[in-house]
Symmetry: C2
Subunit: 108 residues, 2 copies
């Protein structure tokens, strides 16, 4: 069962929800940036500089959290995020790497 913050357990992470989350370019940028960062790095939501309003930013991070892609970490006055790299790699081996690599070359 998802915890109160909406994080699914590793075995509850669903491929459809993960693919839906990754289909959006802004959310894919968050995941790509976290993938390319040192393992376990925590970032503020603002640090990704997504070109969206604050409410849309909140929405994107909710989708990322509830799909199981990121941990949301309560810092009191803000929520930081980190990638659930091990959980995702265990459940869908190779998926994140393929998506991150695939995002490197935009459509012609």
């Amino acid at each position: 069962m998802a915890d109160p913050a909406g994080h699914p357990e590793p075995e509850e992470i669903e491929i459809g929800a993960v693919l839906h989350a990754l289909a959006d370019a802004n959310r894919r940028k968050v995941v790509t940036d976290l993938w390319n960062a040192p393992v376990g790095e925590e970032r503020t939501c603002q640090s990704f500089a997504l070109p969206v309003s604050k409410s849309t930013l909140t929405h994107h991070f909710k989708i990322l959290r509830e799909s199981g892609l990121v941990w949301s970490i309560d810092k009191g006055n803000r929520n930081d995020v980190s990638l659930r790299r091990e959980d995702l790699e265990a459940r869908f081996p190779g998926l994140l790497k393929a998506v991150v690599s695939g995002s490197l070359h935009p459509a012609a």
Copy 2:
């Protein structure tokens, strides 16, 4: 440029559109079935036995075709489909395999 049937060129296939197409369980079943079939196999749209109306079926195959996941093959009285396996593997190595493998174990 996409051809008149809506198939993008290989270099036009966009990761966001592919992930959006794969996020749906019915469309993922089509791709999974084609992935597991002999290379180049052509199937009728009805053969996947998706539990949807005819108009929804048409919609799903339009999304699959326009994202670049399948070829739609004009057979006169119907359109068959085949997987664009080589185009996808060249553009997004490992992606389809990871998605198909990830679809094997549903969420707990």
